[in-house]
């Protein structure tokens, strides 16, 4: 009788452990550590990566909307703002004026802007660039090949996504979703150590 009871207790404990494990798995207790990442302007979708935690930006080459070849490696040594956008994307339209302004303000500070035009077609994209007075080039990424490369190092969930890449080619900051003026200028001020000039 005693032995049977003990076996029962062991079984019950094993079952409880199994259930607990299942509950933990089902509730998605898979959050990773967020070391080296800080929020910008109180928004968790705008982040700064501290030195040592900055992912290496993959290199790419592509064709710009105006038809010339562009190699990302030619930007090495400069701070680059890489904006993933599409003319069909409503939030991209919302942030486009902000990007155009910040691009002008940080030109003096040596910051280059580069667009990655995702899932788009050239005629619509060029109309977008004209309408919003976008002063920087964009690379055609209609097949999302460049996006795919970057998704391997930062969690790009869609457009718009804006990455700030430092002089050494590491991703120093990111805005996942519509970038505001505050978020973008905060990140650039920290990465370049300079303020924008209007």
């Amino acid at each position: 009788m005693f032995k049977a009871k003990r076996r029962l207790v062991v079984l019950a404990a094993a079952a409880l452990a199994a259930v607990a494990l299942a509950v933990v798995l089902l509730s998605g207790w898979a959050g990773g550590g967020n070391s080296g990442v800080t929020d910008v302007a109180g928004n968790p979708s705008a982040v700064l990566y501290s030195a040592g935690h900055r992912p290496v930006a993959p290199d790419f080459t592509g064709t710009t909307l105006t038809g010339s070849r562009l190699s990302f490696s030619s930007y090495r040594g400069r701070v680059v703002v890489l904006n993933f956008w599409g003319s069909w994307c409503a939030p991209c339209r919302e942030e486009a004026p902000t990007l155009a302004v910040v691009a002008q303000q940080y030109r003096q500070a040596g910051v280059s802007f580069l667009g990655v035009d995702v899932r788009d077609n050239t005629a619509s994209a060029l109309a977008f660039v004209r309408d919003y007075g976008i002063p920087y080039p964009s690379v055609n990424d209609s097949g999302s090949v460049i996006t795919l490369d970057f998704t391997a190092v930062v969690p790009i969930a869609g457009t718009p996504t804006t990455l700030v890449i430092d002089q050494t080619g590491h991703i120093a900051g990111a805005v996942f979703g519509t970038a505001t003026y505050t978020e973008l200028s905060d990140i650039l001020a920290k990465v370049t150590g300079k303020a924008g000039t209007s």
């Binding site: 993933f84 409503a90 939030p91 339209r93 999302s144 996006t147």
Partner: protein
């Protein structure tokens, strides 16, 4: 959960360890025989017995089936969020309550998880003790031969010239030859000449395999739910997409799936062709769908080709890509008032319920100046006019045409609120053309007041792809097959025992021959047939005894002859 054990068939002493653990499990049965108070431990034990009882397992299985019913009756958040919203609008009083009960997300609801986990616990609680029991039962020797074998359900008796010891020896050889497990009298203890034999241990193994496999099916399903994903993508001929969250139209990840788990493949649709039956009653029925694609398994990897068909998915990087639909994407070129080309692309139109690929879509020209332009349109692959209404006569693009209504104004895109590319909000727009305008390929529609021109330049096909990754699929299949195999084994294999006892015909002279009793019983004779098996075994034993006794008998005859 089915218990495949049959009631004990015979009167043979079934050891206590083989008692059916999935009995009724009443408190009375498991209560302390001393009759002391029913304490917490007893309640726990009783609860555990209940949980692992077959009755509860069946109830849980039924609840699981019942619980998934609302999942198919009501729109679900995961698969049809728009449907959920519509339901809320249509039933403003009822919907919040259904939502509180988790009925719009059944498979993620706590009560559904509770049923699932309880069933899991019930199965584990049943199978684990069973494993131990089988291990014991598999090692166990048959019981000693009963004293009077003629009382068993099957028995035979005959005399042989062999002495009892030899008769038992010959019986053991015959039974062993039939694959029986044998038990003989222990050394040093003389309690007669007998053989116990048992066969059909595979039955318990089959039973256990069935239970373990069922458990495996549950684990596989959980595996799929946790680590699998499903995604949809509409792909226009001549374009490429990458299997990354930002480039998928819809993505339904499992609970432990993140965007980083998506296989980094890219697929280009080079060409898609659909063919249809052109005559007879079946006219318009599809004959074949054929998608020529090229793909790379990872960025920069080699480009491979594949011929995608309806039941011929592409396997790439652990995922399967299925061709599930197709349609037409008319190509439009729009110039605005300045003469700038502001739109030039294939625009997927979606075919609705009306047949023959009469498809609807919108063209949003957000870059047009001075105002944004929008068009709602209908594409027909084979245009016919029936009573002034444009219809499609055939699904193939034999005579394609579009019919457009033009709008100008504010598309509502600039506010930053995401929109569907298949719908247009005309609230901020005014209609430019009073009537829908029919365009054939190459034809243009000039908008009034020099607002621009739209040209229908042609069309290309598109396909809709579903990408699934279900790591539980193969294990579930294997487990399902194993469960079936186990069930068959446990149904078809009988456990049966055969005993042989040989007694000296003449107690004073054991060499004078013996009386052999053969008894047999099937412990679970579900499918019948033991009667015949026993009869043939008994006959074989008798023949073996006679054959072995032949030299003795011959000797006797010689003696008598002298």
């Amino acid at each position: 959960m089915t218990d495949v054990r049959m009631p004990e068939a015979g009167p043979s002493g079934s050891p206590a360890a083989e008692r059916d653990e999935r009995g009724t499990g009443s408190p009375g049965r498991s209560a302390d025989p001393a009759g002391s108070a029913f304490g917490l431990a007893d309640w726990l034990r009783w609860g555990w017995r209940q949980l692992t009882s077959m009755r509860i397992a069946l109830v849980l299985l039924f609840l699981l089936a019942l619980g998934s019913v609302p999942g198919s009756m009501l729109p679900q958040e995961g698969t049809n969020p728009a449907g959920v919203q519509q339901y809320f609008t249509a039933h403003p009083a009822l919907a919040p309550w259904l939502s509180r009960l988790g009925l719009f997300n059944v498979f993620g609801a706590p009560w559904f998880a509770a049923i699932y986990l309880l069933l899991f616990a019930s199965l584990v609680g049943c199978v684990v003790p069973r494993t131990f029991r089988l291990a014991g039962s598999a090692r166990m020797l048959p019981p000693r031969a009963p004293r009077y074998l003629t009382r068993l359900p099957r028995s035979a008796e005959y005399s042989t010239a062999l002495p009892p010891a030899e008769a038992a020896e010959v019986s053991a050889r015959v039974l062993a030859g039939h694959g029986f497990r044998l038990r003989r009298p222990a050394d040093g203890v003389f309690d007669g000449h007998w053989v116990s034999a048992e066969k059909g241990y595979l039955r318990e193994a089959g039973n256990l395999l069935f239970h373990l496999a069922l458990l495996g099916v549950l684990v596989s399903v959980a595996l799929g739910g946790l680590f699998g994903y499903k995604a949809d993508r509409l792909l226009v001929q001549g374009t490429t997409f990458a299997d990354t969250q930002s480039d998928l139209d819809e993505w339904f990840p499992g609970r432990l799936v993140t965007a980083a788990d998506l296989g980094p493949f890219t697929i280009t649709l080079n060409r898609f062709e659909a063919s249809y039956i052109t005559s007879g009653a079946q006219r318009g029925q599809p004959l074949s769908f054929d998608g020529q694609i090229s793909y790379t398994a990872q960025p920069g990897g080699p480009v491979r080709s594949y011929n995608l068909q309806v039941n011929r998915p592409l396997s790439v990087d652990g995922a399967k890509v299925y061709l599930i639909g197709h349609g037409y994407a008319p190509v439009f070129k729009v110039t605005d008032s300045r003469g700038q080309v502001v739109y030039d692309q294939a625009t997927p139109f979606i075919s609705g319920s009306s047949g023959n690929f009469l498809s609807e879509g919108v063209v949003k020209v957000s870059g047009a100046q001075p105002e944004q332009l929008g068009f709602t349109g209908v594409f027909v692959p084979t245009a016919v006019e029936v009573n002034g209404v444009l219809q499609s006569a055939f699904p193939a693009a034999d005579d394609p045409a579009v019919s457009l209504i033009a709008y100008a104004g504010n598309l509502g895109l600039n506010d930053g609120v995401p929109q569907s590319v298949y719908q247009m909000d005309t609230a901020g727009m005014r209609q430019l053309t009073a009537q829908p305008r029919l365009l054939l390929p190459g034809q243009s529609l000039k908008l009034p007041d020099g607002q621009g021109t739209i040209t229908f330049t042609g069309y290309v096909p598109w396909v809709s792809l579903t990408i699934t990754h279900d790591p539980g699929q193969l294990p579930a299949l294997i487990c399902g097959m194993a469960a079936l195999g186990g069930l068959l084994l446990s149904f078809m294999v009988r456990r049966r025992r055969v005993f042989v006892r040989a007694r000296a015909a003449d107690q004073a002279d054991p060499a004078h021959g013996s009386t052999v009793q053969v008894g047999g019983l099937a412990r679970t004779d579900a499918s019948g047939g033991f009667e015949d098996e026993f009869a043939s075994l008994a006959a074989e034993l008798r023949a073996a005894h006679q054959q072995a006794a032949a030299p003795i008998q011959a000797g006797h005859t010689q003696h008598e002859g002298e």
